[in-house]
């Protein structure tokens, strides 16, 4: 009980690079959502209550194009399913915590907090108060995301013609910038190519079902490519 603040602050401090990295996305998200015609309350609610950047971006683009509700929910599920992996990986460090802690830390679980906390807790001894460290990273990421979303919303409201300036292009550019560096790995490249081709061919399907079809094809292609590469080099050990 006595040593709350040092680990809390350490968690926030170690998340600093992530905070800086998330800031422009918070602004872009807020601005884009307003420019796509989504009301301010809904934009802020997405950041405050869903709190999952990539699925928020995708939701804005899907809501803007009139996608059916179940498809938006299903896309959210698929895109955020990786959090279940984080949830499972961090469980050993949370098992001893009271339920209210586990319910809270789960709500704030993001890619960034997972990366910071998992790295730290893996090499800490029992003396270290990991729960407060984890909470520090969570609160820093959460407050940061709310702040930059609000700034983006204000920006979107104060410049009403943003949509005409080609802000819808900002979505495409943002997604492309996130994906492109991952394409250096061949199975990921296969996944992206397949998903892109299927999405293009199936773009006229109703309810944006083409998106689901493309995602499935891409994931299957990636897994298959990984398998084939492993068969091709049976004696190679994983060194990286």
């Amino acid at each position: 009980m006595s040593q709350r603040f040092p680990p809390l602050l350490a968690g926030a401090r170690d998340s600093l690079p992530m905070l800086v990295g998330a800031a422009p996305f918070g602004v872009i998200f807020g601005t884009l959502a307003i420019a796509s015609g989504i009301p301010a309350w809904a934009t802020l609610a997405l950041s405050a209550l869903v709190f999952a950047g990539s699925s928020q971006f995708i939701a804005v683009s899907l809501i803007g194009s009139g996608t059916a509700l179940p498809v938006i929910w299903l896309t959210t599920f698929v895109v955020n399913l990786r959090h279940a992996l984080y949830s499972a990986t961090l469980l050993p460090y949370a098992r001893h915590l009271p339920a209210r802690w586990r319910w809270s830390l789960a709500f704030w679980l993001t890619d960034e907090t997972f990366a910071v906390v998992e790295h730290q807790l893996r090499q800490q001894d029992n003396e270290f108060d990991g729960a407060w460290y984890w909470l520090g990273s969570s609160l820093a990421m959460y407050g940061n995301w709310q702040l930059w979303t609000i700034i983006g919303v204000l920006l979107g409201q104060s410049v009403p013609g943003l949509a005409d300036l080609g802000l819808d292009f900002a979505m495409v550019a943002t997604f492309a910038a996130i994906v492109a560096p991952q394409l250096k790995k061949r199975p990921v490249l296969v996944a992206a190519l397949l998903a892109g081709v299927v999405a293009l061919l199936a773009r006229e399907l109703p309810f944006k079902l083409g998106l689901m079809l493309a995602a499935l094809a891409g994931v299957a292609g990636g897994v298959l490519a990984e398998r084939l590469a492993a068969i091709g080099k049976p004696e190679m050990k994983e060194t990286t």
């Binding site: 422009p24 809904a42 609610a45 869903v50 709190f51 699925s55 995708i58 939701a59 509700l69 929910w73 959210t76 599920f77 895109v79 955020n80 399913l81 990786r82 279940a84 949830s87 499972a88 961090l90 469980l91 949370a94 319910w103 789960a106 709500f107 679980l109 080609g166 292009f169 900002a170 979505m171 495409v172 550019a173 997604f175 492309a176 910038a177 996130i178 994906v179 492109a180 560096p181 991952q182 199975p187 990921v188 996944a191 992206a192 397949l194 998903a195 299927v198 999405a199 293009l200 773009r203 006229e204 083409g210 998106l211 493309a214 995602a215 891409g218 994931v219 292609g221 990636g222 897994v223």
Partner: protein, 106 residues
Amino acid sequence: MSLQLLLTIAGMIVVTYGIRLSFLVFGHKLSFPAWLSRALHYVPAAVLTALIVPMALAPQGAIDLSPGNAYLPGTLAAAAVAFFSRHTLAAIVSGFVVYGLWRWLL
């Protein structure tokens, strides 16, 4: 529209929080299959590319490879800068510059 939006967000909250709670709160009853964690690795690239490609190649619905489609050079520029520099923000800005110039010149 408003009720629709409310339902959309409510569903997204339930889905996302449910996933995050899964192991941290109900972990003793669950196990994470290895094939699923392998498959998850490809989800972001697949979903994002599935969103990008139709927007960049067919912004009006029909495939448009003409010079009039500024989305295509803009997207390629953003992707190229991100691929070589890994600098996300620089990539987005470069994409925007190419997109803007392209629209302005043509």
